[in-house]
Symmetry: C2
Subunit: 459 residues, 2 copies
Amino acid sequence: MEFLAALERAIGAGLVQTGEAIAARHHTDWSGAPPVVPLALVRPRSTEEVAAVLRVCGDHRVAVVPQGGLTGLAGAAVPRADAIALSLDRMNAIESVDLAAATITVQAGATLQAVQEAAAAHGLQFGVDLGARGSCQIGGNLSTNAGGNGVLQFGMMREQTLGLEVVLADGSVLPMLRPMLKNNTGYDLKQFFIGAEGTLGVITRAVLRLHPAPRARATALVALADFDASLALLGRLQSRFPGAVAAFELMWRDFIETSLVWQGLREPFDAPHPFAALVELTGSDEAALGEALEALLAEAMEAGQAVDAAIAQSRAQALAFWKIREATAELPVHMQPPINFDVSLPMAGIGRFAAACRSAFDARWPGHHSIFFGHVGDSNLHITTDGRSIGGDEAGIERVVYDQVAAFGGSVSAEHGIGLHKKPYLHASRTPAEMAAMRAIKRALDPLDLLNPGKVFDQ
Amino acid sequence: MEFLAALERAIGAGLVQTGEAIAARHHTDWSGAPPVVPLALVRPRSTEEVAAVLRVCGDHRVAVVPQGGLTGLAGAAVPRADAIALSLDRMNAIESVDLAAATITVQAGATLQAVQEAAAAHGLQFGVDLGARGSCQIGGNLSTNAGGNGVLQFGMMREQTLGLEVVLADGSVLPMLRPMLKNNTGYDLKQFFIGAEGTLGVITRAVLRLHPAPRARATALVALADFDASLALLGRLQSRFPGAVAAFELMWRDFIETSLVWQGLREPFDAPHPFAALVELTGSDEAALGEALEALLAEAMEAGQAVDAAIAQSRAQALAFWKIREATAELPVHMQPPINFDVSLPMAGIGRFAAACRSAFDARWPGHHSIFFGHVGDSNLHITTDGRSIGGDEAGIERVVYDQVAAFGGSVSAEHGIGLHKKPYLHASRTPAEMAAMRAIKRALDPLDLLNPGKVFDQ
């Protein structure tokens, strides 16, 4: 096949695999989409090789599906039989850490964990963290504008990004790697590629911000009577500890109960409560931080915003609190299958949205098993339902949830992206004029529709 | 003229002014560009009227120059004789404040100060502040991705923005106003318009983030022996007070001396020092914050990172420290004219960059009067030279500075934008491939080149 021969001439035969030589892990991602063997798997070692691959693909009108760590839940990295899969996994160097500027320069194939560890080695931390840290790659984190555990304090992946190097569909390279926080020189092109899920260009390198590692942490579990109390408590925390609220994870009772049962844990309070918030603060002095948090929680209880509270007295106790929240790791074991929702909503409406979804589920699927939890401080709610408990009616429950999202003016994807999985629901969060603008941008940067075609939206 | 008649039919005669009816303030902006009387000044009262104006302009192929508060220093809002000026000044409503989410929804013509005051009325603060706050408008702040005094703690205007409403050249409206921090639903279109200086669309409304107002502040003036000491001190402050360093303004000796002379102030330390840093921290307890800052400064002096330091003992003393920095308000009085530079550079190189510029100035214009200062924590350096002291050779000094910017891998505009004024130097910060990508985006969203044509770059 002339195309494959041209690819091998461009970058060397050893970097191009086909058919059975392609490891099964490249056939799909964590979205659970059916596996597909790509036309070829190409694993370039440099930006120049990525550019050479894209030029050959352009000449032969062959599409390209970029692949990072393949941990995405929306299917953006699922290959196609008529396209090559372009894995960045060989471009995984941590190139440099600049201590004066608190920045790190990395190749797109570096794992999130490798970036976190390189930062920690210099007494710094990276602002994004999520469960797939050991497998997911920075290029994928950027392409999906990843969220996770640190958003409340540091923002999403976009907010960590000072510079990007991107290869366009025609093989030209945009070296937007200047590491300055302030840089108003025409359009901030790098913003266009963050969250574009590989449809506008292939990210090859990035300059990322780092932050000082905190010297102290305080962790508490707080029992709440209703959703509005959680917003009041969060407001009180952010006002008293500006910039220092590192986590505010809200768990509805269904989530807590499920977590305790699955993991064989004891009820954390004397009695069950409708909600619990896991709170984590950062600071510079362990004792002072703990005392200040205790005082604040006493005030909140006095004001009727909290019903009960426990402050971790040790790192072990903090981890025990986190263990309740981390029941999500058990989802694939206990639910067959878990049907996951990742939505965001105007903050004040999250409680009513959750209640509306629950009522609709109760009416249609009595006895369903659903759990509600989320990064409420980021406007982000997750819902997971056991597919068996609703007779496998995934399409039905998706319609229920996304209709409510549209009614509440929310977003069908808070942090996972659109990929393949949420394409049918994108219209619930985007108007026809917005879709037309996206298509115009796509045509401008990838006129032949060769970069991850069919993902996010159809041209 | 059929075009003006069509405009008046679309939105009413009272909203369209021509010739001498147009107030002189709409003829230019603070960039000092020569005044131009636009074809008409149009002052719509609603998004629908903005859309109607753009449709009429599209039908008649008449260009549009959007105008905010006209305080820009790069000339992006300077009108053209063959184009209408579209002022947003009648769309100045503060529409709502959402306390649960800490957001504010405003029309583009609201002044920055009106937004700050609306936030303060609710015990909150807006993250952007700059000298022109009473005149500049949010639409202009967004279109230039404004920086200013709060960037170290809260980021630029882009980081404050959750949602935007934008009218495109064809009159279609993008209602991207969902107020969620997390919203990964296709391309984050609003990012395209922030910093685009009105060349891609007209911003009509915005949802902005607010932050808790700090309960305590501590301010210090620190004398330093060299530039590298300033970076060491900044690193120490950020590590000890993460997220709480609200200002780190570095002043070179030439700046301090000039400020003291112009304002008749006394030397703040017993002896003159090569550099002084103005430091401001925020926190929740005045006494504790002051003590912690004092302890840190003592450590810094012990470590040889600071030579002398004074902590403000009152708000009046803090303002006295700030007065030294605010000599910039006197620039137009004392320099004829002031030639301003607003560049950013990789942090570690700022000291060497400043020294290289000074050497080049000394060699070419002996006796020149130049002052060096900046938001060094944001990678941002300002230089101002008295035009008289270099024989009015503005083009000459610009070439010297921007050649150095290119050599140091910096940016020719940190926070003021490109507009007209910096167009000739954009190539020093952008490659031909980046320029080609910008032009492709511009053609995609404004194919007739009707929105602020000739600003930022030529099509």
